[in-house]
C-alpha cells in the first residue's frame, strides 16, 4: 500500500489485498478465499449499509455510474422516433422519452422532435430509473430541470468534482454573492454555471478554479 504521508491516505492498486476477513464488499472489491482484493486504484473505505459493515474502494478516477434520483447534466447526442439519446458521461447512454419532456400527449408523426431538443443541447435532468441492465431513464418534467439555454459548461474529473461537492454550500453562496450566478453540480461530474452574461459566468469559473486550488479546468 502506498501511504501519502501528510494526508495519511492509503491508496490501493488493482490486485492488492485490502483486508483479510469475512466482510461484505461492494462490486469493486472481489473475494479470493478470505482475502479481499481491490480491482481499481483508489482509497479503501468502510461504509455502513443497513447496519452492516461494507468494504468499498473509492476510485481515484471513474466514469459516472447512474443512480436513481441523481440530477445530471446531459448532452443530446441522437434523436430517435419517440425519444432522445443523452450522453451523461457514463458507460450507458441515457434515454429521454417524449412523455418525460412534454406534458400533453402528442402525435409523433406530426411533430419534429428536434424542434424541442436538438443534438448538442444541454439538459439538466433527473435519473428516474436505472438497474445496471438497462439504459437509464431521464426526466425533465420537474421544476429547475430542463434545457439549458445559456451558461458555462465544465467537465471535471471525478476527484475534482467530489472536492467541489464537499464544499457545495460555500461554493453556491460564494458564486451567488460574488458573481451573481447559479451553479449546477450534476452528479455526472459536470458543472453548469448560469448567469446573466458571460462576464458573470467567467467570474464564477474563477471561483470554481480557486476552490479547486489549481488550473485544472
Amino acid at each position: 500500500m502506498i501511504k501519502v504521508k501528510r494526508e495519511k491516505i492509503k491508496i490501493v492498486l488493482p490486485g492488492e489485498v485490502v483486508k483479510v476477513g469475512d466482510i461484505k464488499t461492494t462490486t469493486e472489491v472481489i473475494k479470493l478465499d478470505d482475502k479481499l482484493v481491490s480491482t481499481l486504484i483508489g482509497i479503501p473505505k468502510m461504509k455502513r449499509r443497513r447496519g452492516e459493515r461494507v468494504l468499498s474502494v473509492l476510485p481515484l478516477k471513474t466514469p459516472y455510474i447512474p443512480k436513481e434520483g441523481d440530477i445530471v447534466i446531459g448532452k443530446i447526442v441522437d434523436i430517435g422516433v419517440t425519444n432522445w439519446l443523452v450522453d451523461i458521461n457514463s458507460p450507458w447512454k441515457a434515454i429521454l422519452p417524449i412523455s418525460e419532456v412534454l406534458s400533453k400527449p402528442v402525435n409523433v408523426s406530426k411533430i419534429e422532435l428536434k424542434d424541442y431538443l436538438n443534438i448538442g443541447d444541454l439538459i439538466v435532468a433527473r435519473v428516474i430509473a436505472f438497474d445496471l441492465t438497462r439504459d437509464p431513464l431521464l426526466t425533465i418534467k420537474e421544476s429547475r430541470l430542463g434545457k439549458a439555454t445559456r451558461g458555462l459548461f465544465l467537465e471535471l474529473s471525478s476527484w475534482d468534482w467530489l472536492l467541489l461537492k464537499s464544499k457545495e454550500k460555500t461554493l453556491l453562496r460564494g458564486v451567488k454573492k460574488k458573481a451573481n450566478c447559479n451553479i449546477v453540480l450534476g452528479a455526472n461530474y459536470r458543472v453548469l454555471m448560469i448567469g446573466k452574461g458571460l462576464e458573470e459566468e467567467l467570474k464564477a469559473l474563477e471561483i470554481v478554479r480557486e476552490t479547486l486550488g489549481r488550473r485544472s479546468t
Binding site: 450522453d87 443541447d121 439549458a148 451558461g151 459566468e201
Partner: protein
C-alpha cells in the same frame, strides 16, 4: 455500453465564440498564443531516437528506428523515410483499436510531407551500397493524450526524435555488410515545424484545444523550415479560408514557428 460522440454542446460553442469576439479564449490564451511546449528527448532506450512532447495537455511520443533494406527501384541512391502515426484509445475515448482511420493517416501524411519537403534528413547520405542496400528511417508516432492539435505535437515529436537519432556505422567487406556497435548522428540538413490554425466563425486561432477543434469550421496547417520557407500546407474541415487570410496566416505562422524552432533540441550532427 455506448460510444462517446463527437458532439460539442451548443452552449459551449456559443461561449467559445462570445469569448473570441472579445479576443479571448477559454484557457486564458490570446488567439495567436501557442501553448507551452515541453520536449524530452531520448526517452526510449531501445530506439535510435525518441522524444515525448507535451503541448498543454496534449502528449505525443515518437520513436525512430532504422532498418537496412533494398532501395526503391526508382531511387536507387537514396534512403527512405516512413512515418506512421497511431491514435490509440489510451489518448482519448474517441479513438478505437483497429486499422488506422482518416485522422491517423492525415497526421502521418502531413508530418511525412513536412519532413520530406524541408529535406530535414539527407536521404542520399543514408545509402550503404548504391542500388543494393540503404537505411530506412521509420518514425512511429503515438498519441498519449488528446487535447487538440495532435498534428503540431506529432510534428514536434517526430522532428525532435530525428534530430537526436543515431545510426550505427557500417563496414563493407566484399559482399558482406557488417553493422558496427559504434554510432553516428543521422545526416540532418534542415528543420521542419508545423503551425495549425483553426477558423471558428470569422475568427482564427492558433493551436486549437480539443474543444476548439470540435467547434471549428476549418483548419489550416502550414509547415516551415529553418529559413522560414513554407514547405507544406494542409487544409481540413468543411469551412473555408479566404486568400487574404491564408497569406496573413502564412506571415503570422512564421513568427510563431521561429519561437518554436528555438525549443527544438540541437541536432547531434552539428
Amino acid at each position: 455500453m455506448s460510444r462517446i460522440e463527437h458532439v460539442i454542446p451548443l452552449i459551449k460553442q456559443k461561449t467559445i465564440r462570445a469569448l473570441l469576439e472579445k479576443g479571448e479564449r477559454l484557457d486564458g490564451r490570446k488567439p495567436m498564443d501557442f501553448r507551452d511546449v515541453e520536449i524530452n528527448v531520448g526517452v526510449i532506450d531501445s530506439a535510435e531516437g525518441s522524444a515525448i512532447v507535451n503541448l498543454g495537455n496534449t502528449m505525443v511520443i515518437a520513436g525512430v528506428k532504422l532498418g537496412m533494406a533494398s532501395p526503391f527501384p526508382d531511387s536507387p541512391n537514396s534512403g527512405a523515410l516512413i512515418v506512421n502515426a497511431e491514435l490509440i484509445p489510451l489518448a482519448s475515448p474517441l479513438f478505437e483499436y483497429g486499422p488506422p482511420k482518416e485522422e491517423d493517416i492525415e497526421i502521418s501524411r502531413v508530418v511525412d510531407r513536412g519532413i520530406r519537403s524541408s529535406k530535414l534528413i539527407d536521404l542520399e547520405k543514408l545509402v550503404i551500397v548504391t542500388g543494393r542496400k540503404v537505411w530506412f528511417v521509420y518514425v512511429d508516432l503515438y498519441a498519449l493524450n488528446h487535447d487538440g492539435n495532435l498534428l503540431d505535437a506529432c510534428m514536434l515529436a517526430a522532428v525532435s526524435a530525428l534530430l537526436t537519432a543515431r545510426k550505427p556505422k557500417t563496414r563493407i567487406e566484399g559482399d558482406h555488410i557488417e553493422i558496427l556497435d559504434e554510432k553516428e548522428p543521422i545526416p540532418i540538413g534542415n528543420t521542419a515545424i508545423s503551425i495549425t490554425f483553426a477558423k471558428i466563425g470569422e475568427y482564427v486561432v492558433v493551436d486549437p484545444t480539443y474543444e476548439e477543434e470540435l467547434a471549428m469550421d476549418a483548419r489550416l496547417t502550414i509547415c516551415y523550415d529553418k529559413e522560414g520557407r513554407i514547405v507544406a500546407i494542409q487544409k481540413g474541415g468543411s469551412g473555408y479560408f479566404t486568400s487574404e487570410e491564408v497569406i496573413d496566416l502564412g506571415k503570422k505562422g512564421l513568427e510563431i514557428s521561429r519561437k518554436l524552432i528555438s525549443k527544438l533540441p540541437t541536432p547531434l550532427s552539428e
